[in-house]
Symmetry: C2
Subunit: 112 residues, 2 copies
């Protein structure tokens, strides 16, 4: 999943900024991460997700949501809860989750 | 610049989520990007910056700010304005800037 420049609706909408550093124990990570993107995309209120990963194993994933209730519901999804636990126990050396509201956006596309 | 897991103060604070796709014309980009990080870091209200770039040239850069006024002031910095123009004319095929407020955060660090 390396697309960027996804389309989101007119603000306000909500965001989760997930910054992480991988551990050494990455066996099975890609499968789990792909499954979580698939699962998140099917949640009510999901607007989009973008991710980028550096060669050193640090990464940023930003997801966009219609409202805070959608974010809370996604956090509490049972399969996602299991993935969060696997993340803490195995895949990540550390991560930070930041939740907030996007108030304005603008952009540029050479193709326009 | 590949660090992640920077420390930010207790929310609320403000964020700029910059997602971009590189063009083919990248000569001089790294120098300019490094200079912009250096310059941003010296701005009033700057709290931190994190970036990740995929092999396909898509990237996410998230910066954190004390208030919206600091973000506006940084956008209008003259050297930054010149860089924004170079970004549109040369370095980027497209980008999106999203500005918002972080209301809560939490994390996990295996070293703790």
């Amino acid at each position: 999943m390396e697309q960027s420049q996804i389309k989101t609706p007119k603000p306000p909408y909500y965001t989760v900024v997930f910054t992480a550093k991988m551990s050494e124990d990455t066996d099975g990570y890609e499968t789990m991460a792909g499954r979580m993107v698939e699962l998140a995309s099917a949640q009510p209120g999901f607007l989009g997700i973008e991710t980028a990963q550096n060669p050193d194993g640090s990464s940023i994933t930003v997801s966009y949501w219609r409202d805070e209730a959608s974010i809370t519901q996604w956090k509490q999804n049972l399969e996602h809860e299991a993935a969060q636990q696997a993340g803490r126990e195995r895949f990540y050396a550390g991560y930070t989750v930041r939740v907030g509201r996007i108030d304005r956006d603008y952009g540029f596309d050479r193709a326009d």
